[in-house]
């Protein structure tokens, strides 16, 4: 598999790059129906929901509670308008503390 593997990796790279590139290079946004534009602008917020759940509950296979505590820390910090990096660091810090309880 040695020599073959690098070709497989290049193949993986191609099938990953093509969907990343095609819409950006081919779409003319002015031609899209306003309804479609509205839907595309909804995508970031919908995808954030799907990226967070259920994944965050599974970060520790032994306990849901772990993800719940980390997420709660992040929600509180974000609610208080801390910037993204502070939110990330504080939830790591809270969970790091929790592992020693």
């Amino acid at each position: 598999m040695k020599l073959e593997l690098i070709w497989v990796i290049i193949g993986m790279g191609l099938v990953t790059y093509i969907p990343r590139m095609l819409p950006l290079v081919l779409f003319y946004t002015n031609n899209l129906h306003p309804r479609v534009q509205g839907i595309l602008k909804n995508v970031p917020f919908a995808i954030l929901g799907a990226l967070i759940f259920p994944g965050v509950l599974l970060i520790n296979p032994e306990s849901y509670l772990y993800g719940v505590i980390g997420a709660a820390a992040a929600i509180i910090a974000a609610w208080l308008n801390f910037n993204v990096i502070v939110v990330v660091l504080s939830s790591i810090f809270v969970l790091y503390g929790y592992t020693f309880l």
């Binding site: 193949g11 990343r20 993204v84 990096i85 969970l95 790091y96």
Partner: protein
């Protein structure tokens, strides 16, 4: 489009720096994941060249992990590439969505920064408060995330032993905390954002119980269903993205 090589005025060092800075939380989140990828790649029998090569060429976390388990299970090349494609087809949706907010840049520049689209770089860029997202910003953002991913894949491979378990476990929250930090400010201001994220979260959680939708399809389906149905239900409402 004119064949002028000059970039529009919006491509300032300030935009580039903004992108670099916005990439920092992603870099923190990628560190443990890339590190562990390097570690597992070594265990799966890849060479250092193949491990770093995969991160350089593919740059897609989940599918690289799955590739390792498939290589370890001696799966065929076609199966591996097809699985990668299915895992990453959701980038179509992100690329199309980003195109709505992106500056009217030359095609080569769009084709270049498109390479850096991941769940994380897309989320950061698409929730940024700029009216139009510039190529300089996206390149800065992408390069920080990418270099961290590539470097730490190699570091994980060479170190060959895991991070301390307590640190490893707590750093697993990093990317989720970042997603939450990107979502909350918009959700505070807009019912529509709450509805979009909430419905996609519920759908994706339900889909995770269906083996066929585990992996790439669940995220695409739940995002599409939420984005389309909420657009019809809450037509007039704003998302307050800017």
């Amino acid at each position: 489009m004119l064949p002028s090589p000059a970039l529009p005025k919006v491509h300032t060092p300030a935009q580039w720096k903004k992108g670099l800075k916005a990439g920092l939380p992603i870099a923190i989140g990628y560190m443990p994941i890339a590190f562990t990828f390097g570690l597992l790649a070594k265990a799966a029998g890849l060479s250092l060249f193949e491990t770093v090569g995969m991160s350089v060429i593919v740059f897609a976390g989940a599918s690289q992990y799955i590739a390792l388990s498939m290589i370890a299970a001696a799966s065929g090349a076609a199966e591996l590439i097809l699985t990668t494609f299915i895992m990453n087809i959701r980038h179509l949706l992100m690329s199309a969505s980003l195109n709505e907010r992106a500056e009217d840049d030359p095609k080569w520049l769009k084709a270049l920064y498109a390479f850096f689209i991941t769940d994380e770089t897309f989320s950061v860029a698409a929730t940024s408060l700029e009216k139009k997202i510039t190529g300089s910003y996206l390149l800065g953002l992408g390069l920080v995330a990418y270099s961290c991913w590539v470097v730490f894949s190699g570091v994980g491979y060479i170190m060959g032993s895991g991070l301390p378990p307590s640190l490893q476990a707590s750093m697993g929250i990093a990317l989720y905390a970042m997603f939450i930090a990107l979502l909350v400010p918009a959700a505070k201001k807009s019912r529509k954002v709450v509805a979009l994220a909430g419905s996609a979260a519920v759908l994706n959680s339900l889909f995770s119980f269906i083996p066929l939708l585990n992996g790439g399809w669940g995220i695409i389906l739940s995002t599409l269903i939420a984005a389309v149905s909420i657009e019809f239900v809450m037509k007039g409402e704003e998302r307050n993205e800017a």
